[in-house]
């Protein structure tokens, strides 16, 4: 009976053919009612492109914290009801759950091996696969999502805005003379194990685009290093991840192991902001993230008006009117307030359009 049910749902003739990020051609049914988004940023991205949660019937459990802790839950209150038990550890989908969910489109990572793709292929459910790497790939996620959901104009417009804005800031970053570029590391983990972003991570690309130098750029991916290696790099700025609860600049300023590093002496440790999504990994908010990086890397060349831009972008992306207090939350004014230049750059009232 279940098999028949699935067959019935797959029966409508494919109306469109899309090519996904890994070069697979995917036949997508004319109308899509039920979408499952397994990559973590894609849950909020489907909401952004579709303007709501009604078609999103499954997402990664890790996306839940953006709804319960982040702003996303306030932007889309119904998002709390979206089931999360569709895929387990390492994005591996549960075949029975997929059948029960009667999805007519699954969005999945395409560059993490076949083990997470085969169960979906075996059921014959149309699947769009994405690639991880440079942040700009996320513009294509918007474009693909729009095309698949039957809103190609919306997807295209968002993707264009994304690419143009990141490109503008990358130009500004490229124009900064070599000797004025700060040396910046991103701590993917910083509480006990120290892990920095190296080659192939989106953060490495973002640091470069914003006019910084990542001394770990030659290391493979997420590299575990010792504190001595960080002392040897002696970075000007340290960026903190949004994933470890309790990690914030004050913690590093007080940590005896980090003393003597330039970023600590000059108080240039910053916790990444978090809005509808975390700003460190790629998402629809990446253009804002790259601008924020550019401002803290080059306070004297900072672009005025990030707060106003956040407010405008949140209307465009989420149709959400953000309050000044919420912008403070997004920018982590509380955690970053003691760090150098932060109040001058981003405190409420300093923004001039």
């Amino acid at each position: 009976m279940i098999v028949l049910g699935v067959f019935f749902f797959l029966a409508p003739a494919a109306a469109r053919t899309l090519t996904d990020q890994n070069g697979h051609t995917v036949d997508v049914p004319a109308t899509i009612r039920r979408v499952i988004a397994i990559p973590i940023p894609l849950a909020s991205m489907v909401m952004v492109v579709d303007g709501g949660t009604s078609r999103l019937i499954g997402m990664n459990s890790a996306a839940k914290s953006d709804i319960t802790e982040g702003l996303l839950g306030r932007m889309f209150p119904q998002a709390a009801q979206i089931p999360t038990r569709i895929a387990g550890e390492n994005f591996a989908p549960n075949a029975e759950a997929l059948i029960t969910a009667r999805a007519d489109l699954v969005i999945q990572w395409g560059d993490r091996g076949n083990a997470i793709l085969d169960p979906i292929r075996a059921l014959g459910i149309p699947m769009l696969t994405l690639k991880y790497g440079n942040s700009v790939l996320a513009a294509d996620w918007l474009r693909l999502t729009g095309a698949a959901l039957g809103k190609p104009e919306r997807g295209e417009a968002l993707a264009r805005w994304f690419e143009q804005r990141v490109d503008e800031i990358a130009r500004l970053g490229a124009a900064v003379p070599e000797n004025e570029r700060p040396r910046v590391i991103y701590l993917m983990r910083g509480l006990s194990t120290l892990q920095v972003a190296g080659k192939g991570t989106s953060m490495d690309g973002d640091i470069r685009d914003a006019g910084g130098i990542n001394p770990a750029a030659h290391l493979p991916g997420a590299a575990v290093v010792g504190i001595e290696q960080i002392l040897t790099w002696n970075p000007d700025i340290i960026l903190l991840n949004n994933f470890e609860s309790g990690l914030q600049p004050a913690r590093l300023y007080a940590d005896s192991r980090f003393q003597g590093i330039k970023a600590i002496d000059e108080k240039r440790v910053y916790l990444y902001p978090r809005g509808g999504f975390r700003w460190d990994p790629p998402s629809q908010e990446t253009p804002l993230a790259v601008e924020w990086l550019h401002d803290i890397f080059h306070p004297r060349r900072a672009l005025p008006g990030l707060r106003a831009r956040i407010a405008q972008v949140y209307v465009d992306l989420y149709a959400y009117r953000i309050t000044e207090a919420e912008i403070d939350e997004v920018l982590r004014m509380k955690e970053n307030g003691q760090s150098a230049h932060y109040q001058t750059l981003f405190a409420n009232g300093t923004a001039r359009p």
Partner: protein, 351 residues
């Protein structure tokens, strides 16, 4: 009682007793050299002369170098010393107790228990002190479970060693499954990476706090094992022979097992699962210094300390990226042990 017997025994070999002391002294000297070497090597370049100056406390050293030595390298080297000595002595003791050259601390299921407790605490309360406490509590619980499964009076029964090993396998299996289960429900972005790193074993988060936690657990256990060295020696013969020598096997064995459990749990707590040390070091010592057991345990402790300090120095300075210590001890330990096994095999055939 037994000490008297053994001492009388020693009396006949007075000149060799002096030799034994010399080898221990030699090993201690080697350990000091290794410690100094380890303090001089690292990603942050400090000249050995400056290291000496900093250690002697002369004030004109570079403050950054002083900090690197004092708050980065010293706690890490000392923790490696403690864990290395502990795991090696634990291995040697288990080999005596079970009269089996392949016995190892992981055998009793304590490592798995401690690993489970650690990640459970990590999941519920987060990194740091809760993790260490969780590992200790569950490690000791695993040990108690093994004792209970093997039967309270196991110490006096023949074949009890086999029973203990079987109980260890059962407890190990249960906790290993528990570890997989916790990994399954952990948040893949926030908690899972922390769990995976910790399970791989590393001394990179060594600090004074962890040192002070490991010191009493491992230090007391080592002292206990040292005090029991003659019982352990007697146990390595056979239960009958041990009784014939007037050694009461039961309490000594129980105490030694407790010490081994505490060492293993404390090691897992402060640096994750670091395997093979308890297997490789006692055999290296046996091969290098013979099977004379009078100072054997002491030699194993010193040798284990030196071994782990060397391996950990490699782990933190061979590449820009930190190599997980547990990976390195397995990578070095397995082939080294294979080589030893072949040497021993040839020795048996030849002799």
């Amino acid at each position: 009682m037994n000490e008297a017997t053994t001492h009388m025994d020693h009396g006949a070999f007075a000149p060799r007793a002096a030799f034994v002391h010399k080898t221990t002294l030699g090993l201690l000297l080697l350990l000091l050299l290794v410690i100094f070497g380890a303090l001089s090597i690292g990603r942050y370049a400090i000249a050995p002369l400056d290291v000496a100056r900093i250690l002697l406390g002369s004030g004109d050293a570079d403050p950054m170098a002083t900090r690197v030595i004092e708050s980065v390298r010293l706690p890490r080297v000392l923790l490696a010393l403690l864990v290395g000595a502990g795991l090696a002595a634990a291995g040697a003791s288990l080999q005596s107790i079970f009269r089996n050259p392949l016995a190892e601390p992981q055998l009793l299921g304590v490592s798995s228990g401690a690993a489970f407790g650690g990640i459970l605490a990590l999941l519920i309360w987060g990194d740091g002190l809760p993790l260490i406490a969780g590992a200790l509590v569950f490690g000791m619980m695993a040990l108690l479970a093994v004792f209970w499964l093997a039967g309270g009076k196991m110490a006096h029964r023949t074949g009890s060693a086999v029973l203990l090993v079987l109980a260890g396998i059962v407890v190990s299996g249960v906790f290993a499954a528990g570890v997989s289960l916790v990994k399954l429900v952990a948040d893949p972005q926030n908690q899972l990476p922390a769990i995976v790193f910790w399970l791989m074993g590393s001394l990179s988060s060594a600090n004074q706090e962890r040192l002070w936690l490991a010191l009493p657990c491992i230090g007391l256990s080592l002292a206990l094992l040292h005090g029991l060295r003659f019982q352990l020696l007697a146990l390595s013969l056979s239960e009958e022979d041990a009784r014939a020598l007037g050694v009461k096997v039961g309490p000594g064995r129980l105490l030694a097992l407790l010490a081994v459990g505490l060492i293993t749990a404390a090691s897992v707590a402060v640096c994750g699962i670091v395997g093979w040390v308890g297997l490789v070091v006692p055999h290296l010592v046996r091969m290098g210094l013979g099977t004379d057991h009078r100072n054997f345990l002491l030699n194993v402790m010193v040798g284990g300390a030196a071994y782990l300090i060397v391996v950990d120095t490699l782990a933190r300075s061979a590449m820009e990226v930190e190599i997980p210590l547990g990976v390195l001890t397995s990578l070095l330990g397995a082939p080294l042990f294979a080589f030893l096994v072949r040497r021993i095999g040839h020795g048996v055939e030849g002799g």
